[in-house]
Amino acid sequence: MITMATRAGPFTHTVNSISRTMLWVMAALLPATAYGLWLFGWPAIFLLVITLATALAAEALMLKLLGQPVRARLADGSALLTGWLLALSLPPWAPWWIGFLGALVAIVLGKHLFGGLGQNMFNPAMVARIVLLISFPVQLTVWVAPAPLGSANAPSFSQALTYVAGHSTLPEHMSAATSLGVLKTEHSRGISVAKTTEQLPPPEQLAIGREPGSMGETSAGLLLAGGLLLLALRIISWHIPLAMLGTLATLALVSNALDPSRFAAMPIHLLSGATLLGAFFIATDYVTSPVSRSGQLLFGAGIGALTWVIRSLGAYPEGVAFAVVLMNAMVPLIDRGFRPRVFGRSRRGQSLDTKKPKIPL
């Protein structure tokens, strides 16, 4: 229908491209990822390799099946980023098939069944994480105490292989619980949240991230640094992260002030779980977030609020993945309701008033 032969302008273009964007996002994830790999050792490294390889292979397969240009689309980096984000959100010592299945679900179910890049409604990595959490709740809630590479507790390369292969179970002394997990279980046993909080790592330690948790979610400081890099490069705008973090912080502050025995304090909400990874790297996913700035504010606020609701009132200790996917479902609606005002028109779309012409036309 549209001929490209005599393409109209512009005849200049930014250097920006999809692959450049994806590469920068991955670069921004590097510090937190490297820290997670160091902290959780060889099993985490294997997990990352498995999800990345599976994501790429699944992407190539799907592109081939759907008759799309495999090499060009694979090079855009979107599948790699999906696999990467998924790995960061998984328990670091998860068996190989968790990573494999997760990446498969993310790429095939979360992305290509919706129509491929740009067409998916839900964040593929979060869809995969939720599918895994619901299908394999045990494997998805096995947390390990930090055992940095080179330390006494760190599993050797061959030990790591047996964990990843699923042939041996974790040694007793390595299992641990996340801060949010501890709060939830203790609260269900009738122990006050305020009291439990005293036994949790202090906020500065949560910021550094030497604690149990998903592979790339523990270091709040490094995630924040990556997020700030993306902001500085204008790859993401401040609207979604600020709205999400602001809403979550406000709700946490207010609820904690009202009932400290029931609701966790603000720093715990902001610094643990997937809050920062979610705010800067997951909620900001272009494809599954609103396109207008005002829509993005609402979207971010929705994720912040839902995260707080799920964590504080729901059955799960953590809620970022659910919150993101729930708000993803709202995006078409938000996009419809939050358009920018058209130049020369009122918010309702009426042409603005004019001065009266001297002689009526």
Binding site: M1, G118, V291, K358
Partner: protein, 502 residues
């Protein structure tokens, strides 16, 4: 200021340095001139010369057609060798009627209208000024080529109060307006005063982007004699030169959708137009030349050249040392809103602000990938549109849907295409869709016309049938009456009378 009043826009790579320090040089007279009859928006001009005529520089060779149009003058002396279809400087490569003149090298002037040399108040009425501008064939020289006299006449229908002079020159590479403001500031300001006089407005704003400090200084200096001319330095952001956005940035007034800036009391003229008006008034010279920027990394010697209209782009390129390396794209105008030239054998016309030879690096036109909904186009659109959604609708063929979300409010500035990381040619989609809608509109109007004609015909037929029926009924009644009468009084009815009633 931009950030408060106008949303969107993009930061571009400018490359004005290639030609900004090159003073305007005159173009040597070419052997042949090709003057298309349509160098403006509106109806093509009507030739008043025939093949074989000898013409003088500045002589009228085609008069304005009735309605919206502008006349064409010979840009040098010589002989008319052809009036024929010739490739126009338009991407389609379509041909249009063109007067071809073989120059004689004498460059002899025709007799020109008497210059108006009075200082203000000018010794002529605004109406007389308008007709002089109309007769000189001056059109908007910023690119749109709207006949200037028609714009000056807007005062008869609108309450105008402000004249805005567009010296923004926001297109990358172009420096012709910059040079004009630097080198002929006094003439430009004189033109501004004449325009203000013709429009009978009190307030004048002269807007220049901040990336032209010398032009700003020169215009400020020249405008010092006229303190009522307000010179404004604008942030450098594309599309600052877009008429509606410029008006908003400078006056705070927002032009309503589908209306003219005149509706809110503002008329905008380009700096080169102002200088052309001054020239016409002060020396009687019609619009027969213009300053053209020849630039891009594919040009050996970028330059600003005062070019006789009708000169071939090929001659310009030769004058600039030729192409090196072989360019990726040859463009008439700026890289954002300009159009690809179909060949180097097209003439420079009144609206040609630049000829750019761009290398592949400068164009950076990668392969198209799927939209990732990044929203860059939404942030960049100065019109508050959602280009990605409009493009989706256009792709699906839902032009009405695209129109419903503002397709007709798009000013085709190209910011969305420029910023798109997926290299989706968004503006191209919208131009296409606007063209289609225009065609549909014309079509539906034609259908309406046909329908109304058919309806009129049916009504006429019905009326005639009705009349026939009535006549027949009347006849019957008359017959019956006659029969009754003859029954009552059996008198012989003359045959002639009977015949008459049949």
């Amino acid at each position: 200021m931009w950030s408060f009043r106008v949303r969107g826009g993009v930061k571009l790579q400018y490359h004005k340095e290639l030609s900004s320090e090159k003073a305007v040089v005159p173009m040597p007279l070419p052997r042949r001139l090709y003057l298309p009859l349509q160098q403006h928006i509106g109806a093509p001009a009507l030739p008043v010369v025939v093949v074989g005529d000898t013409v003088l520089k500045g002589q009228l060779i085609a008069k304005a057609a009735p309605g919206l149009s502008a006349p064409v003058h010979a840009s040098s002396s010589g002989t008319v060798v052809a009036i024929e279809e010739y490739v126009a400087p338009h991407p389609s490569g379509l041909r249009q009627k063109t007067i071809v003149i073989d120059t004689d090298g004498q460059d002899r002037w025709a007799e020109l209208p008497k210059p108006i040399t009075d200082d203000f108040p000018l010794g002529v009425t605004p109406a007389e000024l308008n007709s002089r501008v109309a007769a000189a064939g001056i059109v908007g020289m910023g690119g749109a080529a709207f006949p200037s006299a028609v714009k000056l006449d807007l005062k008869s229908r609108y309450q105008l109060d402000t004249l805005l002079i567009n010296g923004a020159e926001c297109e990358p590479y172009l420096t012709c307006d910059d040079r004009l403001m630097r080198e002929e500031a006094a003439a430009v300001i004189d033109g501004v005063r004449i325009l203000a006089y013709a429009l009978e407005v009190q307030s004048v704003v002269f807007a220049i982007e901040r990336n032209k400090p010398q032009a700003l200084a020169a215009i400020r200096e020249a405008a010092r004699v006229e303190p009522w001319i307000k010179v404004m330095a604008l942030p450098t952001r594309f599309p600052m030169g877009s008429e509606r956005h410029l008006v908003l940035a400078c006056t705070g007034r927002e032009t309503p959708s589908r209306k003219l800036t005149a509706d809110i009391g503002v008329v905008v003229h380009n700096v080169a137009t102002a200088r052309a008006v001054a020239r016409t008034v002060r020396s009687g010279e019609p619009l027969i030349s213009r300053v053209v920027t020849v630039s891009g990394r594919g040009i050996r010697e970028p330059a600003n050249i005062n070019v006789p209209l009708g000169t071939l782009v090929e001659d310009l390129l030769v004058f600039c040392g030729g192409l090196h390396p072989v360019p990726h794209k040859l463009i008439g105008g700026g890289p954002m809103m300009g159009a690809p030239l179909p060949s180097v054998q097209v003439p420079v016309v009144k609206g040609t602000s630049g000829v750019l030879a761009l290398t592949a690096d400068e164009v950076n036109d990668g392969a198209e990938s799927p939209c990732i909904r990044c929203g860059s186009c939404v942030s960049a659109c100065p019109c508050g549109l959602v280009p990605l959604e409009m493009a989706q609708l256009v792709r699906r063929g839902d032009l009405q849907g695209a129109q419903a979300i503002g397709l007709q409010d798009c000013v085709s500035c190209g910011s969305c295409s420029f910023i798109c990381p997926s290299h989706i040619p968004l503006s191209h989609y919208f131009n296409f869709a606007k063209g289609q809608l225009g065609a549909l509109d014309r079509d539906s109007r034609r259908q309406d016309r046909i329908r109304s004609l058919i309806q009129a015909r049916n009504e006429r037929a019905a009326r005639e049938a009705e009349a026939k029926k009535a006549a027949a009924a009347a006849r019957k009644a008359a017959k019956a009456a006659a029969a009754a009468a003859s029954a009552a009084a059996p008198v012989d009815t003359p045959a002639s009378q009977l015949e008459e009633s049949t």
